[in-house]
């Protein structure tokens, strides 16, 4: 049962053939069988004892359990961002997406997945609980930062999952694990209750086994939230209605800047075949230019770390989470020791980078300039979307790399998000879908981007591709 997609389970549950408890029990069994190898989950003990309520067959999710990234607040249940500094933190409230999932009839929402500490990373190695392993090859990373969610979905130990995406943290692990990951338009899904990394870039989104599940989960979590001033008050379409529409005449732009040095040859070939597939399905494609793409990584690492340095200031040992013991002397020492012991290496690196970028005398040269270039990057996309319906690229320049391979070289690690970061800077929606495998048997992802609030175009193109290809049906051998 755990091997089925959400839409298959929803159908059975709707007909009364299965119960929410049965779905959860099959997940439980799968987790017990394989998660000691994959390590997609953190803190399982309490959640595995939970019992789902009988599913309300009137509600769309009909008792499906959704696994949740550890940075999304669940009332009364530990939410720690896989950081020692939030050890024991039980939020007194649910994130808006959690409330919406409950209202849509989801069952267990306390299965928390592993992640890079505070979403800082592209491999899920920066977790205080240790790394998650890629179900396709336990020696390679699942991607990150939502690596736990992607690996859980890929290994059938989750029906579907939520991740968060600040620079590719949903799409890149989805690509590495051979599943579907969507970053919605900035403002489409409420951030209330998502523990912030970079407020102007973060979005919560679905990680699922196929495109239909992605649309179903988006239907449940999207929409305006008065508690998030940056969420947009716009009607949410029924995304499942975009599935099955043909892509005859859909205009696809292929950014030439994305197919240059740094892109693995094997990936390039697989993505090129995928583009040809889209053409054979009726779409037209043409080369386009996104001239400011080359600045995306530096701009991102200034804007994101600046915001992070401020967002993470609140973790000081005063109110909640970890506080260093044995500091008698004074407040500053308590701050220093708490933050020194509580944060991991990458978190400290980013706090220092961001603090520097905002400092007096550097602000104009770094932060302000980065904001200006960010606008140029957005304008590149605006221009392309005047003539094109979507843009298609590889999700990541390589397939999943070995655990330990890049962890000591942050710059190399940062480059693995080179194709995903621009969507966050521009605020546009983007999806990663499976589009093939490398010779070593690792999944490859295809990224589709569209203009703001046009997730429907992503679903339309992604579903057409998925239905014409076998990649999403492949399962890792575990």
């Amino acid at each position: 049962m755990n091997k089925l997609t959400a839409h298959e389970l929803i159908e059975k549950s709707g007909k009364g053939e299965i119960t929410a408890a049965e779905i959860f029990n099959s997940l439980k069994k799968r987790i017990k069988d394989i998660d000691s190898q994959v390590k997609a989950y953190v803190r399982l003990a309490d959640s595995l004892d939970s019992q789902p309520e009988p599913a309300n067959t009137q509600l769309p999710l009909k008792g499906i359990s959704v696994s949740i990234k550890d940075n999304i607040c669940t009332r009364g249940y530990n939410t720690e961002c896989c950081s020692k500094i939030l050890a024991g933190f039980k939020p007194p409230y649910d994130a808006t997406v959690i409330r919406k999932l409950k209202e849509a009839g989801a069952a267990i929402l306390t299965l928390k997945t592993n992640m890079d500490e505070f979403a800082f990373g592209s491999s899920t190695e920066n977790s205080c609980f240790g790394p998650t392993h890629n179900p396709w090859d336990l020696d390679v990373v699942p991607g990150g930062s939502s690596g736990g969610s992607a690996a859980a979905v890929a290994s059938d130990s989750a029906i579907m999952a939520l991740g968060s995406d600040t620079g590719g943290s949903i799409r890149q692990p989805a690509s590495f694990c051979g599943v579907v990951g969507l970053k919605p338009t900035y403002g489409r899904v409420s951030r209330y209750g998502l523990i912030a990394f970079a407020s102007s870039l973060d979005q919560i989104g679905p990680i699922t086994k196929d495109v239909r599940d992605s649309a179903i989960l988006m239907n449940a979590i999207s929409g305006y939230d008065p508690y998030d001033s940056t969420s947009i008050n716009m009607d949410v379409p029924d995304y499942t209605k975009s599935l099955g529409m043909d892509i005859e005449g859909v205009k696809i732009g292929i950014p030439e800047e994305y197919f240059v040095e740094g892109l693995d040859k094997e990936i390039k070939t697989i993505v090129q075949e995928a583009i040809n597939k889209l053409k054979s399905l009726g779409a037209d494609y043409k080369s386009v230019s996104l001239p400011h793409s080359q600045y995306a990584i530096p701009v991102y690492y200034i804007v994101a770390t600046a915001e992070a340095s401020s967002n993470l200031a609140r973790f000081d040992g005063v109110q909640y989470g970890f506080r260093a013991q044995g500091v008698k002397s004074n407040l500053i020492d308590m701050y220093k020791k708490t933050r020194g012991d509580g944060f991991g290496e990458e978190a400290k690196r980013r706090i220092i980078l961001g603090t520097y970028a905002l400092s007096h005398g550097y602000y104009d040269a770094y932060y302000l300039r980065a904001l200006k270039v960010r606008t140029l990057i957005k304008q590149d996309f605006d221009k392309v979307f005047e003539k094109f319906d979507c843009v298609v690229t590889p999700t990541s320049p390589t397939a999943a790399f070995k655990i330990g391979e890049k962890i000591k070289d942050p710059l190399k690690m940062y480059l693995s998000d080179i194709y995903t970061i621009s969507a966050n800077l521009a605020g546009i929606p983007a999806i990663s879908i499976p589009c093939g495998f490398t010779k070593k048997g690792l999944p490859v992802g295809l990224q589709i981007l569209a203009k703001p609030f046009n997730e429907e175009m992503l679903f339309r193109v992604a579903y057409a591709f998925e239905q014409a290809t076998p990649w999403h049906l492949e399962k890792p051998k575990l």
């Binding site: 523990i195 401020s310 909640y320």
Partner: protein, 403 residues
């Protein structure tokens, strides 16, 4: 005890050094806005409640929580800005001011940096029997911090105050004496009272004032090195602290020493200012735009709508009292200094049948004010119904002999 306490006469007339030097003062006033709820969440702003009883994940800065602006706070800010003759900005945004302190749960304060709600206004004040115009540099909105309570070996934080909307009103360095600074505060408090947007009670902390002060040779164009004064708990303390600084800085300059740019705290017991931190130790607040709030567009319709809520202000009211009730400028100004007193007076002035209202004004300003001050209340709180009061005035005026 400083000289000023012993010999107030010298102070009133300014001492000899005032012949050579002039004082330049700018004031930063923080007002608690009287909104029902906090600036960025739905918690109550009521004063004096049990510690940490008026808090929620937002004002506690819990991870994942997000601020949502209280629109009433923005309306009040615009109202004050208009009454201070400021230019309300079409486009305004919030910024984060980053610093670590346990009373600041996010370790940043949501404030406004380069695009405040409004700027470039003025306030006319009465000082030394003259009307002076003090230019207002900017008016901006921010959130208050909590309160630390220190005990032996232990500090506690009360977050009830955290997130209460604060309006910061920054004057230009346009004020030339401690007395003028005092008069500015009186005029500002009177104006805010009319607008009914803040209690302006320094003891309850709903009005706080920091002062920047420097001294320069008379006629010099360049400003002198300034010190920033904090921790004054009353208008009187502001005046005293400034007077102390005038003396201290003047003495230093006369001795040929230089002033250190620093923040100094007023010690109300010792009646002196003491150094808190120098410029070198000043914090880098790393301001940047608050990404959790979008920018706000304030359109003309909104401004017109708020303009309509501004009542008759003291200056206009005094003019009308002079015209309608034939009062002297002096009497009118006293009666309008606060809105409650002005309403109380007007009720009685109106009801007085005689054309000549002077006697009513005299009674209000004279005996009634005296009665009020002996019990430490204001005129409007003297509980004598209007008809009784007027009957009394009538009897005395007619010199009726009841005996």
């Amino acid at each position: 005890m400083p000289l000023s306490k012993l010999l107030p006469g010298i102070w009133k007339n300014q001492n000899y050094s005032a012949m050579e030097y002039e004082t330049v003062i700018g004031l930063e006033v923080h007002l608690h806005l009287k909104t029902k709820t906090k600036a960025f969440c739905g918690c109550s702003t009521e004063f004096g409640q049990a510690p940490n009883s008026q808090v929620c994940p937002v004002c506690l800065g819990f991870p994942g929580s997000l601020p949502v602006l209280n629109k009433v706070a923005l309306d009040y800010a615009i109202k004050v800005a208009l009454a201070l003759n400021c230019q309300v900005q079409e486009y305004t945004k919030f910024d984060r001011k980053n610093y670590f302190y346990p009373d600041l749960p996010k370790n940043y304060q949501i404030s406004q940096y380069d695009l405040p709600v409004s700027r470039d206004g003025f306030l006319n004040i009465e000082s030394d029997d003259k009307t002076e115009r003090v230019a207002i540099r900017r008016v901006h909105l921010e959130e208050d911090a909590g309160k630390l309570i220190h005990q032996e070996n232990l500090s506690l934080v009360d977050f009830n105050r955290t997130g209460i909307p604060l309006l910061e009103i920054v004057s230009e360095p346009d004020i030339n004496s401690p007395q003028e600074a005092y008069d500015y505060l009186v005029a500002l408090k009177s104006l805010i009272g009319y607008l009914d947007v803040s209690d302006c009670d320094m003891e309850k902390g709903s009005l706080r004032c920091d002062a920047n002060i420097s001294i320069r040779k008379k006629g010099a164009k360049e400003l002198g090195v300034k010190t920033e004064l904090k921790n004054m708990n009353s208008f009187k303390a502001v005046k005293e602290a400034l007077s102390f600084e005038v003396e201290r800085q003047t003495e230093l300059l006369k001795k040929g020493k230089s002033i250190v740019q620093e923040t100094r705290l007023w010690d109300a017991k010792e009646l002196k200012t003491v150094s808190m931190r120098t410029k070198e130790e000043a914090q880098d607040y790393r301001y940047f735009p608050e990404p959790d709030l979008t920018a706000f567009i304030i359109n003309k319709e909104k401004i017109d709508e708020i303009k309509k809520t501004i009542p008759e202000l003291p200056k206009e009211k005094a003019g009308r009292f002079m015209k309608e009730y034939g009062l002297s400028e002096y009497d009118a100004k006293i009666l309008v200094s606060n809105k409650r007193n002005a309403d109380y007076a007007e009720e009685r002035l109106k009801a007085w049948p005689d054309e000549n209202k002077k006697s009513v004004a005299n009674w209000l300003i004279g005996p009634l004010a005296a009665v009020a001050s002996t019990t430490n209340i204001e005129i409007s709180q003297v509980n004598i119904p209007a008809h009784n009061f007027l009957e009394l005035v009538d009897l005395v005026e007619k010199k009726t002999n009841y005996l």
